[in-house]
Symmetry: C2
Subunit: 548 residues, 2 copies
């Protein structure tokens, strides 16, 4: 069997090495148009700041190493420019010419290319960079070394954009971040992304949302935003997203789907039975909605590469779809998500509820505990878990990993309190934040609490609800809701006569725990009470300007 | 409804507060024989070293605070000494006398008491301590302050014993650890516990296994071990385990089971319909084996307390059993387990296989990556996950939490590679250690690899197998298997003529990854090859004396 693999990074290289383990006799040729294969693309931003100090660290393997270990024929600077499906050959362009190579099976793992937004002046500027591969990195670093830029504009506040902001800032540049969406980190919901925004501002990043760069001026010395604002800059990073790199697949007439992603069956086979595809370039099934999706993440690409090798070697393997799990570190906080966002669930029309919790990453009485804020989106009738998000200094990755596993396994809200997670004071909490998230969601499902969401507050207050703040007096100096009533929780039972049985109360505290206790107390004493989900902490991050 | 709750820590206090949230009118009396309720028992060891510096941090709540917030009637120094089930009353002993209190429902959450081993001289020594509550801690700290001990003997190398060793050592004492079992940390399997033992020795702890303290000499100035060895000491910590504190339950004629644990149905109801029980004192169902088990952990106790409150308030709740998940930090490493150990599975007679993996906690090219060693015990026919264990510097808690969730959810080996976990260089690896564990186990199930376990090596070598070490030459200085053959993996394809087709090869490398590649290569070229699971790293920890 002669197998040609196009693309030698995550998906392609996983496929090549696995295939060799299964089939010592197969002829395996890996073609990559770039100078390098098997590089650490997720590590590239960290070399900009010097946090990863050796460039060689990013180069995980070489054609020579792959030949010695796996007997792979790896050819860099070999770009496939055409596929002849009838003849089962590919045309390959090299620095010195073109040649053809035949295949029995062809695997496409071309990845995705950065989207180039329609910006005037893009072409003439020499200081506009994207970051997808080692060549991009080398260009950027050469520019930085030569020109010693002081200011940078990063366009796009997704995962890569945020990593670039962090690393440029750590390198000492003044950084402006421009995002077209209403908030940074669009893969998360607004109120969770607000924590990231808060951290960016705290670290001195100039954050501009709801706008985009429409023109690059003076050969890159400045940019103009939608509203006409001009920002001086020394370099510009474009990270507005990626699209499947499927020009060759398209030219070859393979069936494509959304955004020109390659359509494959659950064995990774394209519309041509001898051509397979994996990685960022293919359309996958979202496991929760069953809908088509494009997911540009390293983990699924690696898994798919390994699985398609099994398929090529005649083993039964099936792409079961993806839920999408991702994390980003932004200075001192991390932000992660798994499954669907609230926005996606809302769009889908499914019934859903949302809860937010704030707990310690480890026992509060043990030194160094920090807050983890979690969000769960679920079906209030069945308890189905749609998605979860987390932000915090430490322990966010762990909680989202547990929730991702729960979602993948089809667990429900009712199962979350049952999870038996590691607990000792340095590591966790006896009632882990994930358990608590389940308890709170279960309280919602069983009608023990009625949650009001942060974005509903203005309308509820306008409709006559009274905001009852049950924090202690000493906590009020951190900020208050306007026109709120304060009765500390521990005094509430004794001071019920200060409340009006005809009014509806929206109870808040710091994190939402005490307000829940107050809500239960009030309800059982005949008052109309609801709980502000996420309470003061969440509100103060997402809507600080509305507090006094 | 008048509810009396016996025991005011994890289970009891979770029940009391939850019950109040559900029922504002219930009369809830919490009785505790100690001076304190709601204290952080898992934090006690860390106060010994001063890592938790304020004693007040350990006292999470007071009777006054619980009255104000939850309207609970909490009575400390109130010991229940008898239950009159006919009259539905309890007799309570206080420092000043006895009284009776009636109940509609009685909840027992008495916890477990330290086992006192049959040691001669125990009674007369004033420097022998256990650590279950604040009073124990106060006594121990008073002794330390007054006598400034230089040496300590810790008897029992379970979780608490190890935490005491760590904290006494951090306080500057010379510590000897004595464990009756063949290895420290008996809740883990031998080879995984060996990492803990290695760390203890590295930190200067005198570790003695396979022995016990049989006599305390000179009023505690020394101890004698089984083999007659005498060890001088200034203080002795007994942490040989706990047993259900069920004397009162027994006296009242409630049905008890193994080790006098209280038998309850899945609604936490004892053999008396008006008496319920939760926490360390009850017998639970092991969710994997369906067998009875005693589990002394904070998380299940908290969950059970909350659930029994729901039951008392008339809600449908069911104890679904436990799998048992635990973690301990021992100086610079952590060790965790979930589900069954290999020893337990072996005893059960179930078919099983074992795999070990060693991977990075986060991307190797990003600074600060450390090794995580994982073990998985599974059914090789069905893929059922029986249990998992992990050791390492960082990220062990996360991996065991994910595996605990997978086990709880009934996922199989085949599902582990599918898990979509958070990945960015500071947090994880594109193929997470948990994914890798699944891949390796799947390779075993599908016959792609045949694993030889570390304890099988001597018999295999004796039977004529040749140990083939495929590490590079530079790695051999770390230690070698005696009589092993070395061919670096990258040279193997070219040097196959050095191997004997009539011999069986047991391939090893550093962690087991390269040896697997070599095994695949050899098998496909017609050689008889197996892979040493865990390879050199694991062997060098569990059997260092057999290496040269």
């Amino acid at each position: 069997m002669k197998v040609i693999i196009v693309g030698g990074v995550a998906g392609g290289m996983s496929a090549a090495t696995r295939l060799r383990r299964l089939d010592e006799t197969a002829e395996i040729i890996v073609l990559d148009k770039g100078d390098y294969v098997s590089f650490a693309n997720c590590g590239l931003p960290y070399y900009v700041s010097g946090e990863i100090s050796e460039r060689s660290e990013l180069l995980l393997n070489t054609p020579e190493g792959l030949k010695a270990r796996f007997n792979l024929d790896v050819r860099v600077n070999n770009e496939v420019v055409a596929i002849d499906r009838q003849a089962k050959t590919v045309t390959i362009k090299t620095p010195t010419g073109e040649y053809q190579e035949s295949y029995d099976k062809l695997l496409l793992s071309p990845g995705a290319s950065p989207v180039v937004p329609p910006v005037i002046g893009y072409e003439v500027a020499q200081n506009v960079f994207t970051l997808r591969n080692v060549e991009n990195l080398d260009e950027m670093m050469a520019y930085i070394t030569q020109h010693q830029p002081q200011k940078a504009v990063v366009v796009g506040a997704g995962f890569i954009g945020l990593e670039m902001v962090e690393n440029l800032k750590l390198k000492g540049l003044e950084v402006t971040l421009v995002e077209k969406a209403p908030h940074v980190l669009p893969p998360l919901d607004e109120e969770m992304a607000a924590y990231v925004s808060q951290e960016l501002v705290k670290q001195g990043v100039d954050v501009r949302v709801n706008t985009s760069v429409v023109e690059i001026l003076n050969e890159g010395k400045a940019v103009r935003l939608e509203d006409g604002t001009e920002l001086a800059t020394d370099m510009i990073i474009m990270s507005v997203g990626v699209k499947p790199a499927t020009d060759i697949a398209k030219k070859a007439g393979l069936a494509l789907g959304m955004r020109d992603g390659i359509l494959v069956n659950d064995q990774y086979q394209t519309s041509d039975e001898n051509i397979y595809a994996v990685g960022d370039a293919i359309i996958v099934k979202n496991q929760i909605t069953g809908e088509e999706a494009l997911i540009s993440l390293a983990s699924p690409a690696n898994r798919q590469g390994r699985q398609v090798a099994d398929v090529l070697a005649g083993k039964a393997r099936q792409n079961k779809g993806s839920i999408g799990t991702a994390i980003v570190r932004v200075f001192n906080i991390s932000a992660a998500s798994t499954g669907l966002t609230e926005r996606q669930v809302k769009l889908s029309g499914k019934p859903y509820k949302v809860v937010h919790t704030r707990g310690n990453d480890h026992a509060g009485y043990y030194p160094g505990a920090t807050a983890v804020t979690l969000k769960l989106i679920f079906n209030p009738e069945t308890g189905e878990l749609y998605g979860a998000q987390g932000v915090g200094t430490k322990g966010v990755d762990k909680r989202i990993d547990v929730l991702a596993t729960a979602i993948k396994a089809g667990l429900t809200v009712e199962d979350l309190p049952e999870l038996e997670l590691t607990y000792a004071p340095p590591f966790g909490v006896a009632k882990d934040p994930v358990n608590m998230l389940g308890y709170v969601a279960l309280n919602v499902m069983e009608g023990l609490t009625e949650m009001i969401q942060w974005h509903e507050v203005p309308e509820k207050i306008a409709a006559g609800m009274v905001l009852l703040d049950v924090r202690n007096e000493g906590e009020l100096s951190r900020g208050q809701f306007p026109d709120s009533l304060n009765i500390p929780l521990n005094q509430l039972r004794e001071r019920l006569d200060e409340l009006d049985p005809n009014k509806a109360y929206l109870v808040s505290c710091a994190s939402g725990q005490r307000s829940y206790l107050a809500e239960r107390l009030l309800k059982q004493h005949g008052f109309k009470a609801t709980n502000l989900d996420g309470a003061f902490f969440l509100y103060s991050v997402v809507r600080p300007e509305e507090l006094i």
